[in-house]
Protein backbone atom coordinates (compact mmCIF):
# COMPACT_ATOMS: atom_id res chain seq x y z
CA UNK A 1 0.00 0.00 0.00
CA UNK A 2 1.54 3.27 -1.05
CA UNK A 3 1.05 6.23 1.18
CA UNK A 4 -0.29 9.47 -0.14
CA UNK A 5 1.72 12.56 0.70
CA UNK A 6 -1.14 14.78 -0.31
CA UNK A 7 -3.12 13.63 2.74
CA UNK A 8 -0.34 14.83 5.07
CA UNK A 9 -1.82 18.32 5.02
CA UNK A 10 -5.59 18.52 4.61
CA UNK A 11 -8.43 20.95 5.21
CA UNK A 12 -10.18 19.83 8.38
CA UNK A 13 -13.98 20.06 8.56
CA UNK A 14 -15.02 19.12 12.11
CA UNK A 15 -18.72 20.02 11.73
CA UNK A 16 -21.25 21.03 14.38
CA UNK A 17 -21.45 17.79 16.41
CA UNK A 18 -17.69 17.78 16.99
CA UNK A 19 -18.01 21.19 18.64
CA UNK A 20 -20.69 19.85 20.98
CA UNK A 21 -21.58 16.32 22.06
CA UNK A 22 -18.89 14.81 19.82
CA UNK A 23 -16.10 16.95 21.23
CA UNK A 24 -14.06 13.93 22.31
CA UNK A 25 -13.92 12.85 18.64
CA UNK A 26 -12.62 16.31 17.70
CA UNK A 27 -10.04 16.24 20.48
CA UNK A 28 -8.87 12.70 19.69
CA UNK A 29 -8.72 13.30 15.92
CA UNK A 30 -6.51 16.35 16.41
CA UNK A 31 -4.36 14.55 19.01
CA UNK A 32 -3.84 11.56 16.71
CA UNK A 33 -2.98 13.88 13.80
CA UNK A 34 -0.40 15.65 15.93
CA UNK A 35 1.10 12.38 17.19
CA UNK A 36 1.40 11.13 13.60
CA UNK A 37 2.85 14.38 12.26
CA UNK A 38 -0.17 15.12 10.05
CA UNK A 39 -1.29 18.68 9.47
CA UNK A 40 -4.91 19.74 9.92
CA UNK A 41 -5.94 23.20 8.74
CA UNK A 42 -9.50 23.93 9.84
CA UNK A 43 -11.86 25.09 7.08
CA UNK A 44 -12.29 28.83 7.59
CA UNK A 45 -15.62 30.06 8.85
CA UNK A 46 -17.36 26.81 7.96
CA UNK A 47 -21.10 26.13 8.11
CA UNK A 48 -23.30 23.11 8.85
CA UNK A 49 -23.43 20.50 6.03
CA UNK A 50 -27.20 20.05 6.51
CA UNK A 51 -26.83 16.83 8.53
CA UNK A 52 -29.76 14.41 8.09
CA UNK A 53 -32.47 17.03 8.49
CA UNK A 54 -32.13 19.80 5.90
CA UNK A 55 -32.55 17.36 2.99
CA UNK A 56 -36.01 16.54 4.32
CA UNK A 57 -36.93 20.19 3.88
CA UNK A 58 -35.16 20.36 0.51
CA UNK A 59 -32.31 18.15 -0.77
CA UNK A 60 -30.79 20.89 -2.94
CA UNK A 61 -30.48 23.17 0.06
CA UNK A 62 -28.32 20.51 1.64
CA UNK A 63 -26.26 20.30 -1.55
CA UNK A 64 -25.71 24.05 -1.36
CA UNK A 65 -24.67 23.96 2.33
CA UNK A 66 -22.16 21.17 1.70
CA UNK A 67 -20.87 22.80 -1.49
CA UNK A 68 -20.12 26.03 0.39
CA UNK A 69 -17.71 24.17 2.70
CA UNK A 70 -15.85 22.79 -0.32
CA UNK A 71 -15.94 26.19 -2.01
CA UNK A 72 -14.22 27.78 1.00
CA UNK A 73 -11.56 25.05 1.03
CA UNK A 74 -10.67 25.44 -2.63
CA UNK A 75 -11.23 29.14 -3.20
CA UNK A 76 -10.25 30.71 0.10
CA UNK A 77 -7.65 28.24 1.36
CA UNK A 78 -6.31 26.75 -1.86
CA UNK A 79 -6.75 23.23 -0.46
CA UNK A 80 -7.92 20.31 -2.58
CA UNK A 81 -8.53 17.68 0.11
CA UNK A 82 -11.20 18.08 2.82
CA UNK A 83 -11.12 15.60 5.69
CA UNK A 84 -14.37 15.14 7.63
CA UNK A 85 -14.33 12.72 10.59
CA UNK A 86 -18.12 12.88 11.02
CA UNK A 87 -19.96 10.34 8.86
CA UNK A 88 -22.79 12.82 8.29
CA UNK A 89 -20.51 15.60 7.03
CA UNK A 90 -18.44 13.14 5.00
CA UNK A 91 -21.59 11.66 3.43
CA UNK A 92 -23.13 15.04 2.59
CA UNK A 93 -19.98 16.42 0.98
CA UNK A 94 -19.72 13.24 -1.10
CA UNK A 95 -23.41 13.49 -2.01
CA UNK A 96 -22.99 17.13 -3.06
CA UNK A 97 -19.97 16.17 -5.16
CA UNK A 98 -22.01 13.43 -6.87
CA UNK A 99 -25.03 15.64 -7.50
CA UNK A 100 -22.95 18.51 -8.85
CA UNK A 101 -21.25 16.11 -11.24
CA UNK A 102 -24.43 14.44 -12.49
CA UNK A 103 -27.40 16.74 -11.99
CA UNK A 104 -27.59 20.01 -13.95
CA UNK A 105 -30.46 21.26 -11.78
CA UNK A 106 -28.33 20.97 -8.65
CA UNK A 107 -25.54 22.88 -10.40
CA UNK A 108 -28.00 25.62 -11.27
CA UNK A 109 -29.40 25.93 -7.73
CA UNK A 110 -25.93 25.93 -6.14
CA UNK A 111 -24.71 28.57 -8.62
CA UNK A 112 -27.71 30.78 -7.92
CA UNK A 113 -27.49 30.49 -4.13
CA UNK A 114 -23.68 30.94 -4.10
CA UNK A 115 -23.98 34.09 -6.16
CA UNK A 116 -26.63 35.57 -3.88
CA UNK A 117 -24.59 34.57 -0.82
CA UNK A 118 -21.58 36.33 -2.32
CA UNK A 119 -19.03 33.55 -2.80
CA UNK A 120 -17.64 31.49 -5.66
CA UNK A 121 -19.74 28.52 -6.63
CA UNK A 122 -18.14 25.12 -5.99
CA UNK A 123 -17.58 23.00 -9.10
CA UNK A 124 -17.38 19.23 -8.99
CA UNK A 125 -13.86 17.84 -9.10
CA UNK A 126 -12.20 20.76 -7.29
CA UNK A 127 -12.02 18.99 -3.93
CA UNK A 128 -11.60 15.41 -2.79
CA UNK A 129 -13.54 14.62 0.39
CA UNK A 130 -12.08 11.94 2.63
CA UNK A 131 -12.99 10.40 5.97
CA UNK A 132 -10.63 10.32 8.99
CA UNK A 133 -10.17 6.62 8.21
CA UNK A 134 -8.88 7.33 4.67
CA UNK A 135 -6.70 10.10 6.07
CA UNK A 136 -4.78 7.85 8.48
CA UNK A 137 -4.84 4.73 6.32
CA UNK A 138 -3.56 6.47 3.20
CA UNK A 139 -1.05 8.88 4.74
CA UNK A 140 0.48 6.61 7.39
CA UNK A 141 -0.74 3.13 6.53
CA UNK A 142 -0.89 0.06 8.73
CA UNK A 143 2.87 -0.51 8.73
CA UNK A 144 3.62 3.09 9.57
CA UNK A 145 1.09 2.97 12.35
CA UNK A 146 2.45 -0.31 13.76
CA UNK A 147 5.94 1.24 13.93
CA UNK A 148 4.63 4.13 15.99
CA UNK A 149 2.60 2.12 18.51
CA UNK A 150 3.90 2.61 22.06
CA UNK A 151 1.07 1.01 23.96
CA UNK A 152 -0.33 -1.96 22.06
CA UNK A 153 -4.07 -2.57 22.16
CA UNK A 154 -3.36 -6.29 22.48
CA UNK A 155 -5.92 -8.15 24.54
CA UNK A 156 -8.67 -5.69 23.62
CA UNK A 157 -11.51 -7.19 21.63
CA UNK A 158 -13.10 -4.66 19.34
CA UNK A 159 -16.34 -4.64 17.33
CA UNK A 160 -15.87 -2.06 14.57
CA UNK A 161 -19.07 -0.14 13.94
CA UNK A 162 -19.20 1.94 10.74
CA UNK A 163 -22.89 2.90 10.57
CA UNK A 164 -24.97 3.92 7.55
CA UNK A 165 -23.58 7.12 6.17
CA UNK A 166 -20.05 5.85 5.53
CA UNK A 167 -21.16 3.32 2.92
CA UNK A 168 -24.70 4.08 1.74
CA UNK A 169 -25.93 4.75 -0.84
CA UNK A 170 -22.98 3.33 -2.73
CA UNK A 171 -23.22 5.49 -5.86
CA UNK A 172 -21.88 8.53 -4.01
CA UNK A 173 -18.66 6.67 -3.11
CA UNK A 174 -17.15 5.80 -6.53
CA UNK A 175 -13.75 5.01 -4.97
CA UNK A 176 -15.22 2.22 -2.83
CA UNK A 177 -15.70 -1.37 -4.04
CA UNK A 178 -12.89 -0.69 -6.52
CA UNK A 179 -10.91 -3.89 -6.13
CA UNK A 180 -8.15 -5.01 -3.75
CA UNK A 181 -7.13 -2.44 -1.16
CA UNK A 182 -10.22 -0.30 -1.61
CA UNK A 183 -12.92 0.10 1.00
CA UNK A 184 -15.96 -2.16 0.79
CA UNK A 185 -19.49 -0.83 1.13
CA UNK A 186 -20.91 -4.15 2.31
CA UNK A 187 -18.08 -5.23 4.59
CA UNK A 188 -16.03 -2.13 5.38
CA UNK A 189 -12.61 -2.87 6.90
CA UNK A 190 -10.53 0.34 7.12
CA UNK A 191 -11.20 0.76 10.85
CA UNK A 192 -10.52 -2.94 11.43
CA UNK A 193 -7.20 -2.58 9.55
CA UNK A 194 -6.05 0.43 11.57
CA UNK A 195 -7.00 -0.97 14.96
CA UNK A 196 -5.44 -4.34 14.10
CA UNK A 197 -2.21 -2.50 13.23
CA UNK A 198 -2.37 -0.97 16.72
CA UNK A 199 -2.63 -4.46 18.21
CA UNK A 200 -6.37 -4.81 18.81
CA UNK A 201 -8.18 -8.09 18.24
CA UNK A 202 -11.15 -7.44 15.94
CA UNK A 203 -14.16 -9.67 16.45
CA UNK A 204 -16.37 -10.92 13.64
CA UNK A 205 -19.18 -8.36 13.89
CA UNK A 206 -22.16 -8.79 11.56
CA UNK A 207 -23.75 -5.39 12.30
CA UNK A 208 -20.89 -3.19 11.05
CA UNK A 209 -23.18 -1.15 8.82
CA UNK A 210 -26.47 -1.61 10.69
CA UNK A 211 -28.48 1.51 11.48
CA UNK A 212 -28.51 3.00 15.02
CA UNK A 213 -31.64 5.04 14.26
CA UNK A 214 -29.59 8.22 14.57
CA UNK A 215 -31.92 10.28 12.39
CA UNK A 216 -34.74 9.68 14.87
CA UNK A 217 -32.71 9.46 18.04
CA UNK A 218 -34.98 12.03 19.73
CA UNK A 219 -38.04 12.07 17.48
CA UNK A 220 -38.68 8.30 17.64
CA UNK A 221 -36.60 7.22 20.62
CA UNK A 222 -38.26 3.84 21.09
CA UNK A 223 -37.24 2.73 17.60
CA UNK A 224 -33.69 4.00 18.14
CA UNK A 225 -33.41 2.22 21.48
CA UNK A 226 -34.43 -1.09 19.86
CA UNK A 227 -31.93 -0.65 17.02
CA UNK A 228 -29.11 0.31 19.39
CA UNK A 229 -29.89 -2.62 21.69
CA UNK A 230 -29.48 -4.97 18.70
CA UNK A 231 -26.07 -3.49 17.98
CA UNK A 232 -24.89 -3.59 21.60
CA UNK A 233 -26.08 -7.17 22.11
CA UNK A 234 -24.63 -8.41 18.82
CA UNK A 235 -21.25 -6.89 19.68
CA UNK A 236 -21.35 -8.42 23.14
CA UNK A 237 -22.29 -11.83 21.70
CA UNK A 238 -19.42 -11.54 19.23
CA UNK A 239 -17.14 -11.31 22.26
CA UNK A 240 -16.23 -7.63 22.06
CA UNK A 241 -15.12 -5.50 25.06
CA UNK A 242 -15.40 -2.29 23.07
CA UNK A 243 -17.42 -0.93 20.16
CA UNK A 244 -15.20 1.37 18.11
CA UNK A 245 -17.09 4.22 16.42
CA UNK A 246 -16.31 6.68 13.64
CA UNK A 247 -19.34 8.97 13.72
CA UNK A 248 -20.54 11.37 16.44
CA UNK A 249 -24.22 10.61 15.76
CA UNK A 250 -23.67 6.84 16.06
CA UNK A 251 -21.44 7.31 19.08
CA UNK A 252 -23.79 9.51 21.08
CA UNK A 253 -26.74 7.39 19.89
CA UNK A 254 -25.11 4.23 21.25
CA UNK A 255 -24.26 5.95 24.54
CA UNK A 256 -27.68 7.56 24.94
CA UNK A 257 -29.74 4.49 24.09
CA UNK A 258 -27.49 2.21 26.15
CA UNK A 259 -28.69 4.29 29.12
CA UNK A 260 -32.25 4.60 27.80
CA UNK A 261 -32.48 0.81 27.38
CA UNK A 262 -31.43 0.51 31.03
CA UNK A 263 -33.94 3.07 32.27
CA UNK A 264 -36.91 2.35 30.01
CA UNK A 265 -36.61 -1.35 29.13
CA UNK A 266 -34.55 -2.53 32.10
CA UNK A 267 -31.96 -4.05 29.75
CA UNK A 268 -28.30 -3.51 30.60
CA UNK A 269 -25.54 -4.35 28.13
CA UNK A 270 -22.10 -3.80 29.58
CA UNK A 271 -19.89 -2.84 26.67
CA UNK A 272 -17.56 0.14 26.27
CA UNK A 273 -18.01 2.64 23.45
CA UNK A 274 -14.97 4.55 22.20
CA UNK A 275 -14.12 6.51 19.05
CA UNK A 276 -11.53 4.68 16.97
CA UNK A 277 -9.35 7.78 17.25
CA UNK A 278 -9.45 7.47 21.05
CA UNK A 279 -8.20 3.88 20.84
CA UNK A 280 -5.53 4.82 18.28
CA UNK A 281 -4.41 7.82 20.36
CA UNK A 282 -3.94 5.69 23.45
CA UNK A 283 -2.04 3.13 21.37
CA UNK A 284 0.24 5.96 20.26
CA UNK A 285 1.00 6.63 23.93
CA UNK A 286 -1.45 9.47 24.66
CA UNK A 287 -3.15 9.66 28.06
CA UNK A 288 -6.94 9.04 28.12
CA UNK A 289 -7.66 12.71 28.93
CA UNK A 290 -5.65 13.80 25.88
CA UNK A 291 -8.05 11.86 23.68
CA UNK A 292 -11.11 13.09 25.57
CA UNK A 293 -12.17 9.86 27.28
CA UNK A 294 -13.48 12.00 30.18
CA UNK A 295 -15.82 13.72 27.70
CA UNK A 296 -17.60 10.47 26.81
CA UNK A 297 -20.83 9.67 28.62
CA UNK A 298 -19.86 6.06 29.32
CA UNK A 299 -16.92 5.57 31.63
CA UNK A 300 -14.29 3.09 30.46
CA UNK A 301 -11.50 4.14 32.91
CA UNK A 302 -11.52 0.99 35.01
CA UNK A 303 -11.38 -1.12 31.86
CA UNK A 304 -8.59 1.00 30.35
CA UNK A 305 -6.54 0.63 33.57
CA UNK A 306 -6.99 -3.14 33.46
CA UNK A 307 -5.71 -3.16 29.90
CA UNK A 308 -2.73 -0.96 30.75
CA UNK A 309 -3.87 2.05 28.71
CA UNK A 310 -4.45 4.41 31.64
Amino acid sequence: MTTKDKYKKVAYYPGCALEGTGHSYNRSTKAVGKALGLDLVEVKNWNCCGAMEVKNIDPKLQTYLSSRVMSVAVNEMDMDVVMAPCNGCYHNLKKAEYDLKHDPESVEVVAKLSKKAGHKSYESGQVETIHALDWIKDSIGEEGLAERVKNSLSGIKVANYYGCMYTRPRHIFPEKDAGPGSESTSKPHFMDDLLAAAGAENVEFPLKTACCGGAHTLSDSDTSTKLVLNILKAAKLAGADVIATECPTCHSGLEMHQIRAEKVLGETVDIKILYFTQLLGMALGLKPRKVGVHENVSDPMKFLKQKGLA
Binding site: C16, A17, E19, G20, T21, H23, S24, N45, N47, C48, G50, A51, E53, V54, N56, I57, D58, P59, K60, L61, Y64, L65, R68, V109, K112, L113, K116, A117, G118, C164, T167, R168, P169, T185, A210, C211, G213, A215, H216, L218, S219, D220, T223, S224, K226, L227, E255, M256, I259, R260, E262, K263, V264, G292, H294, E295, V297, S298, D299, M301
Partner: protein
Protein backbone atom coordinates in the same frame (compact mmCIF):
# COMPACT_ATOMS: atom_id res chain seq x y z
CA UNK B 1 -52.46 -20.67 -0.37
CA UNK B 2 -49.45 -19.62 1.63
CA UNK B 3 -49.72 -15.97 2.50
CA UNK B 4 -46.24 -14.49 2.58
CA UNK B 5 -47.25 -11.02 3.56
CA UNK B 6 -50.14 -11.89 5.83
CA UNK B 7 -49.81 -8.57 7.61
CA UNK B 8 -51.01 -6.88 4.40
CA UNK B 9 -54.41 -8.53 4.67
CA UNK B 10 -56.62 -6.61 7.04
CA UNK B 11 -58.33 -8.73 9.72
CA UNK B 12 -61.81 -7.88 8.39
CA UNK B 13 -60.84 -9.31 4.99
CA UNK B 14 -59.94 -12.70 6.42
CA UNK B 15 -62.50 -15.47 6.52
CA UNK B 16 -61.60 -18.47 8.58
CA UNK B 17 -63.60 -21.71 8.68
CA UNK B 18 -62.86 -24.49 11.08
CA UNK B 19 -64.70 -26.95 8.85
CA UNK B 20 -65.40 -26.23 5.21
CA UNK B 21 -66.16 -28.49 2.30
CA UNK B 22 -66.36 -27.05 -1.21
CA UNK B 23 -67.41 -29.22 -4.15
CA UNK B 24 -66.87 -32.27 -2.01
CA UNK B 25 -63.31 -31.23 -1.12
CA UNK B 26 -62.47 -30.65 2.53
CA UNK B 27 -60.62 -27.34 2.71
CA UNK B 28 -60.61 -26.93 6.49
CA UNK B 29 -57.49 -26.36 8.55
CA UNK B 30 -54.52 -24.81 6.77
CA UNK B 31 -56.56 -24.16 3.67
CA UNK B 32 -59.42 -22.52 5.43
CA UNK B 33 -58.26 -18.93 5.17
CA UNK B 34 -59.71 -17.00 2.28
CA UNK B 35 -59.45 -13.42 1.15
CA UNK B 36 -62.89 -12.16 0.30
CA UNK B 37 -62.97 -10.63 -3.14
CA UNK B 38 -63.76 -6.95 -3.31
CA UNK B 39 -64.19 -4.20 -5.85
CA UNK B 40 -62.15 -1.03 -5.59
CA UNK B 41 -63.71 1.84 -7.46
CA UNK B 42 -62.42 4.85 -5.59
CA UNK B 43 -58.98 5.66 -6.98
CA UNK B 44 -57.02 8.83 -6.33
CA UNK B 45 -55.44 9.29 -9.74
CA UNK B 46 -53.48 12.39 -8.72
CA UNK B 47 -51.70 10.82 -5.76
CA UNK B 48 -48.63 9.44 -7.56
CA UNK B 49 -47.99 12.69 -9.42
CA UNK B 50 -48.43 14.74 -6.27
CA UNK B 51 -45.95 12.61 -4.31
CA UNK B 52 -43.56 12.68 -7.27
CA UNK B 53 -43.69 16.50 -7.12
CA UNK B 54 -42.34 16.54 -3.56
CA UNK B 55 -38.58 16.29 -2.87
CA UNK B 56 -37.47 12.64 -2.84
CA UNK B 57 -40.52 11.29 -4.66
CA UNK B 58 -39.31 12.03 -8.21
CA UNK B 59 -38.43 8.45 -9.18
CA UNK B 60 -41.43 6.59 -7.81
CA UNK B 61 -42.60 5.75 -11.36
CA UNK B 62 -39.51 3.58 -11.89
CA UNK B 63 -40.57 0.93 -9.33
CA UNK B 64 -41.13 -2.58 -10.66
CA UNK B 65 -42.20 -4.04 -7.29
CA UNK B 66 -39.27 -6.39 -6.69
CA UNK B 67 -39.50 -5.83 -2.94
CA UNK B 68 -35.76 -5.34 -2.34
CA UNK B 69 -36.58 -2.22 -0.32
CA UNK B 70 -38.86 -4.01 2.13
CA UNK B 71 -36.45 -6.95 2.35
CA UNK B 72 -33.56 -4.71 3.32
CA UNK B 73 -35.55 -2.28 5.47
CA UNK B 74 -34.29 -1.56 9.00
CA UNK B 75 -37.71 -0.52 10.30
CA UNK B 76 -39.52 -3.46 8.65
CA UNK B 77 -37.32 -5.78 10.71
CA UNK B 78 -38.82 -4.39 13.92
CA UNK B 79 -42.31 -3.63 12.57
CA UNK B 80 -43.63 -5.85 9.72
CA UNK B 81 -46.36 -3.28 8.95
CA UNK B 82 -43.64 -0.92 7.72
CA UNK B 83 -43.62 -1.95 4.06
CA UNK B 84 -42.17 0.49 1.47
CA UNK B 85 -42.77 -1.88 -1.47
CA UNK B 86 -46.48 -2.10 -0.66
CA UNK B 87 -46.88 1.63 -0.11
CA UNK B 88 -45.24 2.38 -3.45
CA UNK B 89 -47.69 -0.06 -5.03
CA UNK B 90 -50.70 1.62 -3.38
CA UNK B 91 -49.51 5.09 -4.38
CA UNK B 92 -49.00 4.07 -7.98
CA UNK B 93 -52.41 2.37 -8.05
CA UNK B 94 -54.02 5.39 -6.41
CA UNK B 95 -55.39 3.36 -3.51
CA UNK B 96 -55.51 6.21 -1.05
CA UNK B 97 -57.81 4.61 1.54
CA UNK B 98 -55.49 1.62 1.85
CA UNK B 99 -52.44 3.88 2.22
CA UNK B 100 -54.17 5.94 4.90
CA UNK B 101 -54.43 2.89 7.14
CA UNK B 102 -50.66 3.12 7.60
CA UNK B 103 -50.47 6.91 7.70
CA UNK B 104 -49.17 7.08 11.26
CA UNK B 105 -46.03 5.00 10.71
CA UNK B 106 -44.70 6.12 7.32
CA UNK B 107 -42.70 8.99 8.88
CA UNK B 108 -40.74 6.44 10.93
CA UNK B 109 -38.26 5.72 8.09
CA UNK B 110 -34.79 6.12 9.69
CA UNK B 111 -33.04 7.10 6.42
CA UNK B 112 -30.46 4.29 6.70
CA UNK B 113 -30.55 4.03 2.89
CA UNK B 114 -30.42 0.23 2.83
CA UNK B 115 -33.35 0.36 0.37
CA UNK B 116 -31.58 2.88 -1.84
CA UNK B 117 -28.52 0.60 -1.79
CA UNK B 118 -30.58 -2.47 -2.73
CA UNK B 119 -32.97 -0.91 -5.27
CA UNK B 120 -32.16 -2.11 -8.82
CA UNK B 121 -34.23 0.68 -10.39
CA UNK B 122 -32.91 3.82 -8.63
CA UNK B 123 -36.31 4.60 -7.16
CA UNK B 124 -34.61 6.05 -4.03
CA UNK B 125 -37.28 4.56 -1.77
CA UNK B 126 -35.88 6.51 1.21
CA UNK B 127 -36.79 9.74 -0.58
CA UNK B 128 -40.21 8.33 -1.53
CA UNK B 129 -40.91 7.62 2.17
CA UNK B 130 -40.07 11.23 3.06
CA UNK B 131 -42.15 12.59 0.18
CA UNK B 132 -45.09 10.38 1.21
CA UNK B 133 -44.86 11.49 4.85
CA UNK B 134 -44.83 15.13 3.68
CA UNK B 135 -47.77 14.51 1.35
CA UNK B 136 -49.81 13.02 4.21
CA UNK B 137 -49.09 16.08 6.35
CA UNK B 138 -49.74 18.63 3.66
CA UNK B 139 -53.02 17.00 2.67
CA UNK B 140 -54.12 17.16 6.30
CA UNK B 141 -54.21 13.37 6.78
CA UNK B 142 -51.74 13.43 9.66
CA UNK B 143 -50.46 16.03 12.11
CA UNK B 144 -46.83 17.08 11.81
CA UNK B 145 -44.71 14.11 12.89
CA UNK B 146 -42.05 14.48 15.60
CA UNK B 147 -39.48 13.93 12.86
CA UNK B 148 -40.88 16.82 10.80
CA UNK B 149 -40.76 19.08 13.87
CA UNK B 150 -37.13 18.11 14.36
CA UNK B 151 -36.25 18.74 10.70
CA UNK B 152 -37.90 22.17 10.88
CA UNK B 153 -36.25 23.22 14.15
CA UNK B 154 -32.90 22.08 12.78
CA UNK B 155 -33.22 23.74 9.38
CA UNK B 156 -34.46 27.02 10.89
CA UNK B 157 -31.34 27.15 13.04
CA UNK B 158 -28.99 26.37 10.15
CA UNK B 159 -30.59 29.06 8.01
CA UNK B 160 -30.43 31.58 10.83
CA UNK B 161 -26.86 31.06 12.04
CA UNK B 162 -25.14 28.68 9.60
CA UNK B 163 -24.37 26.23 12.41
CA UNK B 164 -26.08 23.90 14.85
CA UNK B 165 -25.69 24.27 18.58
CA UNK B 166 -27.14 21.00 19.82
CA UNK B 167 -28.59 22.04 23.18
CA UNK B 168 -30.67 24.75 21.47
CA UNK B 169 -31.99 22.31 18.87
CA UNK B 170 -32.86 19.78 21.56
CA UNK B 171 -34.62 22.31 23.81
CA UNK B 172 -36.63 23.76 20.93
CA UNK B 173 -37.60 20.32 19.69
CA UNK B 174 -38.81 19.21 23.13
CA UNK B 175 -40.78 22.42 23.59
CA UNK B 176 -42.34 22.26 20.11
CA UNK B 177 -43.41 18.65 20.64
CA UNK B 178 -44.58 19.48 24.18
CA UNK B 179 -42.37 16.91 25.91
CA UNK B 180 -40.64 17.41 29.23
CA UNK B 181 -36.87 17.74 28.84
CA UNK B 182 -36.10 16.02 32.13
CA UNK B 183 -36.67 12.41 31.11
CA UNK B 184 -35.13 9.90 33.57
CA UNK B 185 -32.64 8.68 30.96
CA UNK B 186 -31.65 12.24 30.09
CA UNK B 187 -30.93 13.00 33.76
CA UNK B 188 -28.89 9.79 34.03
CA UNK B 189 -26.92 10.74 30.92
CA UNK B 190 -26.04 14.16 32.29
CA UNK B 191 -25.08 12.61 35.64
CA UNK B 192 -22.71 10.18 33.96
CA UNK B 193 -21.20 12.89 31.81
CA UNK B 194 -20.50 15.03 34.89
CA UNK B 195 -18.81 12.15 36.74
CA UNK B 196 -15.50 12.74 34.99
CA UNK B 197 -15.65 16.52 35.23
CA UNK B 198 -15.03 17.41 31.59
CA UNK B 199 -14.41 21.07 32.51
CA UNK B 200 -13.36 22.16 29.03
CA UNK B 201 -16.38 20.59 27.37
CA UNK B 202 -18.82 21.99 29.93
CA UNK B 203 -17.41 25.51 29.65
CA UNK B 204 -17.60 25.28 25.90
CA UNK B 205 -21.16 23.97 25.81
CA UNK B 206 -22.21 26.40 28.56
CA UNK B 207 -20.88 29.37 26.60
CA UNK B 208 -22.54 28.13 23.41
CA UNK B 209 -25.90 28.11 25.22
CA UNK B 210 -25.60 31.88 25.74
CA UNK B 211 -23.85 32.85 22.52
CA UNK B 212 -24.81 30.60 19.63
CA UNK B 213 -21.93 29.65 17.31
CA UNK B 214 -22.37 31.43 13.99
CA UNK B 215 -20.91 31.40 10.51
CA UNK B 216 -19.70 34.97 9.90
CA UNK B 217 -21.27 37.01 7.11
CA UNK B 218 -24.15 34.55 6.84
CA UNK B 219 -27.06 36.95 6.32
CA UNK B 220 -27.02 36.97 2.51
CA UNK B 221 -26.77 33.16 2.39
CA UNK B 222 -29.65 32.96 4.89
CA UNK B 223 -31.82 35.28 2.79
CA UNK B 224 -31.01 33.37 -0.43
CA UNK B 225 -31.90 30.02 1.15
CA UNK B 226 -35.15 31.28 2.65
CA UNK B 227 -36.15 32.74 -0.70
CA UNK B 228 -35.36 29.41 -2.39
CA UNK B 229 -37.43 27.45 0.17
CA UNK B 230 -40.39 29.79 -0.31
CA UNK B 231 -40.20 29.45 -4.11
CA UNK B 232 -40.08 25.67 -3.88
CA UNK B 233 -42.95 25.61 -1.42
CA UNK B 234 -45.05 27.69 -3.79
CA UNK B 235 -44.31 25.31 -6.71
CA UNK B 236 -45.20 22.29 -4.58
CA UNK B 237 -48.46 23.89 -3.44
CA UNK B 238 -49.44 24.30 -7.08
CA UNK B 239 -48.61 20.66 -7.82
CA UNK B 240 -50.66 19.56 -4.80
CA UNK B 241 -53.72 21.57 -5.74
CA UNK B 242 -53.91 20.69 -9.43
Amino acid sequence: MPIHEKSLIRPENLKTHEELVIDGVDVSGHWSTFIESRVVSDYNEAMEDEIAALPGGENIHRCWQCGSCTNSCTVNAINPDFNPRYWIYLIRMGMEDELLRDKDIIWQCVSCNKCTYACPRDVFPEGVMKATAHWLERKGHTPKSPSMHFDEVFTEQVIKTGKIEESRTIRRFFSRTKQGLMQPWMIEMVKRLLRNLPVGLLTRMGLATFVAPKTRGWSSAAAAMQEYIDEQHEKQEQALSS
